[in-house]
Symmetry: C2
Subunit: 232 residues, 2 copies
Amino acid sequence: MKGSENTKFIPNLSYDCVIFGFNGVKLKILILEYHNTGLFALPGGYIKHNQSLQEAVNKGVEERTGLKNVFLDQFQVFADPNRTDPSATRRILEANNKDLADNEWMTERFVTVGHYALINYENVNPKPDHLSDSIEWYDIDNVPKLMMDHNEIVSKALEVLRNNISEKIIGMNLLPPRFTMKLLQQVFEAILGHTLRRTSFQRKMLSLDILQRHEKLFEGKAHKAPYLYSFK
Amino acid sequence: MKGSENTKFIPNLSYDCVIFGFNGVKLKILILEYHNTGLFALPGGYIKHNQSLQEAVNKGVEERTGLKNVFLDQFQVFADPNRTDPSATRRILEANNKDLADNEWMTERFVTVGHYALINYENVNPKPDHLSDSIEWYDIDNVPKLMMDHNEIVSKALEVLRNNISEKIIGMNLLPPRFTMKLLQQVFEAILGHTLRRTSFQRKMLSLDILQRHEKLFEGKAHKAPYLYSFK
DNA sequence: TTTTATTGTCTCATATTATGACAATAATTC
DNA sequence: GAATTATTGTCATAATATGAGACAATAAAA
């Protein structure tokens, strides 16, 4: 039936998600590229009429990463009436052989709810959706030009992440279950964009009483082996 | 023309605003009561198709308080599919002799963007809108039972305000242009919900280098007159 | 002139954080 | 197997910030 798609969703409302991961060196985000258009965008989607926003975003993140119930922060609404770009949306629909008339609702103005997710890089298996031909990790300091206001959404997400930097949440979601103090420090440095003092950082983390110390990690390197830690 | 109202606005999307004021003693918020219904609610509204969210909220706040361009923080989206209460909306429409069929769109599910505003209590002249018969200040610790999830929105706004307590923003927006150190301390105590140490507070504020000291304020009291300050 | 209440500013004790020093220790090199 | 290397865990000391109280200054009333 024609036009059935648009009745499933709340009109003019979408979500977009900045998915952060950490590969041990750099902070990265997932960006998708649409078939034959050269257009890059954040993963996002629409909210069904019977669905909560959080359900919708969780589902979208799961479809692209395979991860369930990841840490999500809904950080800002972007609602400039001119933020949407109908011509870009049409290009994507055409490149995917979609009926324009049928999908006209997608070219309307959209208010979007910006989220960021923190996920364990190693567990992710990025999967493009039916409109895009790739979804890939990009260094946070090397993000390509994105559609509409998505670059602004990324900047804002990083800003909020930096301000809300809670030791436990960041560590628990961006790191593997067991990690060295050095790796923990490297996540913080990657997020904050500057180096930290080793001794102060270590003392601070230990004093917070959120870490559990485990066995040492023998990496086969010619120096003292570090302890492994997990979050309590 | 029937049903023309709903075409003006983005469907299923609203804003609500917790408007904070400080009367010198208590932190207060503005709450409106609907004609002949006993229903209390936060001031809120809808977003026109050609309007940004911020424009819509600024306009709503101005209509109820007479104040333009007040400090606004868009702090959270509330999007539970069951948060809306169609029966309450119908009661309000009936009490105002509105055509139910014509306004059926108002009883649909709404996703709302929660905001809080900080305003100078003294400058406000509260004005009820066409559906409500009063808009009044309530102590933050004595808020009545509100419609839908509005009590939750208030709690969340206060929580965010407490966490985001930036000296300058709070002082500049909740206080008159010139104020004593004591009044400044009282705003902070009203927001935080606990007392602060006078000497430490004073030293802290002065060390931040955000205050300009002016002439003394002679209140006609039998003690040393305090200086007046403004924000730089 | 004395009293009263409050203000502005110290002082000293007590955290907290910065900075550097240093011993401990896996693995490599000789 | 002893010396070397790179890194880790921890401590010592200095610099800052905060907590808690003391006290003199002072505007108006008694």
